[in-house]
Symmetry: C2
Subunit: 178 residues, 2 copies
């Protein structure tokens, strides 16, 4: 939600990189989100997110189920990576899940979002199911693991410096311009 | 390092509450720090801390062993709770461990710190070993668990709102004054 405008102000170019967090969690021995595994920490995470959204004037509705399987949503993001709608799509997916509490596992949600962006949802979803996109997403996820990524969002600067989390966005931006 | 001056500026009263994190980690199934259990996250935590200290102009030296057993250090903090040296002592313990990479498990380190604060280290350490202090620290740790505390530092506002981490200190202070 914040990176595009912040990066524009700072004069930093951003390359968006979808990847799957599930396999990365699994490699650490987590079968679900750490926020489910460690309830006290999880409760604070949701409350913290709620406070941050309130302070930033963003809608927040806690989704009924979390984490959601974003495999299809991520494949669509990959299809969109070279398209003009990629950032709007990513923001819309996150807004649907965390701003409206919707289920982004459902093809219906993704279809609605693509249509709202003026896209041919059926054609995009068909491309998202292609072997090329499937293997690209696997490769991106493996790349994320090689880069020592353990969570999302992560910002990696051209020199390799890694910043994790919305609350490190400003630090990442400062690092990029200095 | 930051709370005393920040709270003073904001006009917020702070009550310092030492507790042990080890039993809280253990209750979550962690036999050591999560930063050892999850190496990728741990590497980023240390690097992040290093960057933060650099930005805040604070010394940082990664201790050779971590986490350290702070049982004796915490008992001494409890002894000091009603004394004028309590804040200086807490800051000195953290500075020794993370600013100088020293071992605060060792009685020698604690003795040196108490002496630098003009205290009779032998007498303080003797009080720290008393049954009263031992049971007080257990009670504080149990209280921390009841309050849903899962990490340190945690800031709990009078209305029960919980904020976790140095990076939430400003949010906690704002919550306290509004």
């Amino acid at each position: 939600m914040r990176i595009a405008s912040l990066a524009k102000t700072a004069g930093v170019a951003v390359r968006w990189r979808p990847f799957m967090l599930g396999p990365i969690f699994k490699a650490q021995g987590w079968e679900t989100s750490p926020f489910n595994l460690y309830p006290a920490k999880g409760r604070n995470m949701w409350r913290d997110l709620e406070r941050i959204c309130l302070a930033d004037n963003m809608p927040f509705v806690r989704p009924k189920s979390s984490p959601q399987n974003t495999l299809q949503a991520a494949r669509v993001a990959l299809v969109g990576l070279a398209e003009s709608w990629r950032k709007d799509y990513c923001r819309a997916i996150y807004r649907a899940e965390f701003g409206e509490g919707r289920n982004v596992e459902e093809e219906e949600t993704i279809t609605e979002i693509l249509q709202s962006l003026g896209q041919d949802a059926g054609a995009v979803l068909q491309r998202a199911r292609s072997d090329g996109i499937k293997s690209q997403l696997r490769a991106r996820t493996e790349e994320a693991q090689r880069l020592d990524i353990f969570g999302s969002p992560t910002f990696i600067i051209a020199d390799g410096e890694l910043f994790w989390g919305n609350d490190r966005l400003e630090a990442a931006s400062n690092w990029a311009v200095h």
